[in-house]
C-alpha cells in the first residue's frame, strides 16, 4: 500500500483547505447554523456546481469525476476542520454511496448524475433506533400494491432528513431487503426537524405513514441490498472519521495559536510543560488516527471485501472519534474561560465530537466488532 499522496491529491487537499478557510470561516458557520435548513445554499452551490466536489467518488459513467475514496476522505477532512455546514455528508457520502453499493444500474444511471452535479440533495435513512447505525437494525416495511408500493416505518435520526430532496429508504419487502427512493415532498411522508445539541448538523425524524410509490421507486432488492447498505455504513464511517480527524486537527491548531499568544506568569502559557505535553498528546492521537483513516481510505478505494472494510471502518472510526473528543475537550480546557464561551469555536467542535461519536458505532461497539474475530463472540 502506497501512502504517498499524488500531486493531484495534494492539489485537491490544498485547494479545499484554501477555499474553506474563507468560505467556511467561523462567522460563516455561525450564520449557516441559524438557517432553517442548517446550511448556506450559496456555499452548497459552489461546492457542487463550481468545484465539482459532489462528483468526487462517483464514476464518470454516472456523471462523476471517477476519483477514489482517498480523494473523498481528503475533502471530508478539510470540511471537518472548518465544520462545513452543507448536505455533503448526507448526499454524497451516504446517499450516493448507497446508490453505488446497493442500487440497480438503471437507478444509478438515473439518480447519480443529479447528485454528482450537486443539483439535488439526498440522504439515506439508516438506523431506526438512532443508536445502532448499522442498517440491519431496520424496521421499515414495504408492500406491493399492483405495480406500486406502500411504505410504512419510522426513522428517528436521519441526517439532513428534513431538507433532503430525495430520501433513500431501506425497508423489508416480502422479507427481503429493498431500497426505495422517496421524494421529499411525497404525500404521507412526515419529516420533523429535531433540535440538535450540535448546531452544525441537522437531523430529522422521518415517518412514512403508508407512502405510496411508483414502480421505479424500487431501486434494488434482495440480499445484495443488505450487503450494499452494510458496506455503505462502513464507507460512510470512514468518511466521517476523516471529518472527525479534520475537526481534531483544528482543535489542536486553535489551541496552539491561543496558548502561544496568551501570557500568564510573564510567559506564553504554551511554554508550560503541562500545556505542551497535552498538545503533544493531542498530536499523537491525531497522527495515529490519521494513519489509520488514510489507510482505511486506501483499502476502501481498492474494492475491499465486506469483512475487511468493516474492520477498517471500526479501527478508523473509533480512533477518530476518540481523538476528536479528546482534542475538543483539551481545546476547551487549554483556552481557559474563553473556552467556555459561545464566542470562541472550541464549543462547536466539542459538540460535533460528541454528536458524531456514536454514528456508525460507538467506540465500545466498534471495539467489540474488532474483538469478536480475535476472541470469539461476546457472551
Amino acid at each position: 500500500m502506497n501512502f504517498a499522496l499524488s500531486d493531484d491529491q495534494k492539489l485537491i487537499r490544498d485547494s479545499a483547505e484554501n477555499f474553506l478557510a474563507d468560505a467556511s470561516s467561523s462567522a460563516a458557520v455561525r450564520r449557516a447554523m441559524e438557517n432553517d435548513t442548517g446550511y448556506d445554499p450559496a456555499l452548497w452551490q459552489r461546492i457542487g456546481a463550481e468545484l465539482g466536489w459532489c462528483g468526487t467518488h462517483i464514476p464518470e459513467a454516472h456523471g462523476g469525476l471517477g476519483l477514489s475514496f482517498v480523494e473523498l476522505t481528503l475533502l471530508m477532512e478539510q470540511m471537518g476542520r472548518r465544520l462545513v455546514c452543507t448536505p455533503f455528508f448526507s448526499s454524497i457520502c451516504l446517499a450516493a454511496t448507497a446508490l453505488m453499493e446497493a442500487a440497480r444500474e438503471d437507478a444509478r444511471r438515473r439518480l447519480l448524475p443529479r447528485l454528482a452535479s450537486g443539483e439535488m440533495t439526498a440522504t439515506l435513512a439508516l438506523a431506526d433506533s438512532g443508536v445502532d447505525w448499522r442498517p440491519d437494525a431496520l424496521t421499515a416495511s414495504a408492500r406491493r400494491l399492483g405495480s406500486r408500493y406502500v411504505l410504512e416505518g419510522r426513522f428517528r435520526h436521519v441526517p439532513d432528513g428534513a431538507s433532503a430532496e430525495l430520501l433513500l429508504i431501506p425497508a423489508l419487502l416480502e422479507r427481503r431487503w429493498a431500497l426505495f427512493a422517496v421524494d421529499g415532498k411525497a404525500k404521507d411522508l412526515v419529516r420533523k426537524p429535531l433540535k440538535t445539541l450540535d448546531p452544525t448538523r441537522r437531523i430529522a425524524e422521518v415517518r412514512l405513514d403508508g407512502v405510496g410509490l411508483p414502480e421505479d421507486a424500487l431501486l434494488g432488492e434482495g440480499p445484495e441490498v443488505g450487503e450494499g447498505l452494510n458496506r455503505t455504513a462502513d464507507f460512510a464511517a470512514i468518511a466521517l472519521a476523516a471529518e472527525q480527524l479534520g475537526g481534531a486537527q483544528q482543535c489542536l491548531d486553535l489551541t496552539l495559536a491561543y496558548t502561544a499568544q496568551r501570557v500568564q506568569f510573564g510567559q506564553p502559557v504554551a511554554s508550560f510543560q503541562a500545556v505542551k505535553h497535552r498538545c503533544a498528546e493531542m498530536m499523537v492521537m491525531i497522527e495515529a488516527a490519521r494513519s489509520v483513516v488514510y489507510g482505511a481510505a486506501r483499502v476502501a478505494s481498492a474494492g475491499p471485501g465486506t469483512t475487511e472494510l468493516s474492520l477498517e471502518a471500526a479501527c478508523a472510526k473509533s480512533l477518530a472519534s476518540d481523538a476528536f473528543f479528546f482534542c475538543a475537550q483539551e481545546a476547551i480546557q487549554l483556552h481557559g474561560g474563553v473556552g467556555f464561551t459561545w464566542e470562541y469555536d472550541p464549543q462547536l467542535y466539542f459538540k460535533r465530537a460528541q454528536g458524531t461519536s456514536h454514528w456508525f458505532g460507538s467506540t465500545p461497539a466498534l471495539h467489540e466488532r474488532v474483538a469478536s474475530p480475535l476472541l470469539g463472540p461476546a457472551r
Binding site: 501512502f3 510543560q273 505542551k276 503533544a280 498528546e281 499523537v284 497522527e287 489509520v292 476472541l375 461476546a378
Partner: protein, 396 residues
Amino acid sequence: MKMSDDEIFRLEVARWLRAHLRGEFECLRHRGGPGDEDAHPELRKRWERELARGGWTCVGWPREHGGRGLSIAQQVIFHEEYARAGGPGRMGHIGEGLIGPTLIAYGTEAQKRRFLPGIVAGTEFWCQGYSEPNAGSDLANVQTRARRDPATGEWVLHGQKVWTSLAHESQWIFVVARSDPESKGNRGLSFLLVPLDQPGIAIRPIKQLTGTAEFNEVFFDGARTAAENIVGQPGEGWAIAMALLGFERGVSTLGQQMHFAHELDLVCEMARVNGAASDPAIRARIAQAWIGLKVMRYNALRMLAGAQDGHLRREAMMYKYYWSNWHRELGKLAMDVLGPDGDVVSDDPTRTRLQQLFLFTRADTIYAGTNEIQLNIIAERALGMPKEPRFEKGKS
C-alpha cells in the same frame, strides 16, 4: 499469477530463517529483546555469525561497505520475516543500527575499513556510552573527560558511564566525552571509539527489576584510545551523537511490529483458554491493542512514503512514544489476562513470556528518550511550542 520480486524475496528470507533458526538456535526464538539482552549471549553471538554467513547482517547498508544494499521495502520485508520467525534480539544491533551507519556517514576511510567488516561479520560487538549518573535526559551534561596525551597523541579518558547495555559482551564502546575542560553543555564534546578490554576500564553489571543484568556501569580511569579513533573533529561530538540517534528510528523498528503482533496473539490465546475473553473490559482492551497495531503498521507506511524528503515528519516524531506506550500497556494487559496465575512463576513458557513482557516493557518508555522527553520533542519540534527553560546554576 506471477510473483513480484518482493514476494520472491520474502519467501527467500522465510526459507533461510526456517532452515537456520533451529537446532542449537531453537531456544533463541523471541528472546533477547530490549531489557532481555543478556539472554544466551554466547549463543546469540554465534547466531550473528550464522546470519553473517547467509549475508543477513547489515542488509540495509550499501554493498561497498559489506551490506546487502536492500531497498527500503525489502528491508521492511526482511525485518518482518525475521520477527515472524521469532528471530532473537540482535546482539549486533548497536553496531549494525547505530555506530555502523554513523561511521558510513561521518567516519574516515580508515575507520570504515577498520570497523565495518567486524560488524558485518558478527565478530565485533559495540555498546553505547552516552548516559552518565548526571547526564540522562540531559545528555549534554556529560562529565566524562577526554584529553590528548601529548607524547602519543592518544586520547585518555576519566569518568563514568551508566546503563550501558551489553558492555560486558562488547569489544568496543562509543563514548561522548568532554574534550574541552572549560566547556559546558553540548559544546566541547567529542565522539570517541574506545576498546573495552584494557586496564583503564572496569565494567560492573547492574541488576535490573527483572532480576537479570543487561546493562552496566562502565568506569574510565586513564583508559586510552588511539588518536585516530575520533569521529568528526574534537568538539563536534554532540552533532555526531545526535546524528547517531537519528539512525535509531531506522527501518528495523518496522520489523518489531511483527514481533508485537506475535505477542498480542499470545495474549489473545491465553484469554481464550483461561476465559478472560468473556470479560468485556478485557475484550475492549484487546481490541484497542489490535487497533494500535494497525496504527503502527499504517504509520510506518506513512513514514516510508515520506522518507524520500529526508526530514523527520510528524508521524515519525510520534512513533517512539506510540509504540513504547502501546507495548507497555500490552504487558499490563497480559498480566490482567493471566489474573492470579500471573502472580506465580512457573515453567509454563507462555506464562513466562507474558510475565517477562510485563516487566521488560517498563524500560521501553525510559530508554531512547523517556516519555516526557518524547512529548517535549513533539511539542517543540513538531508543534513549534516554546523551548524548555534552562536553569543555570547560581541563578534563579
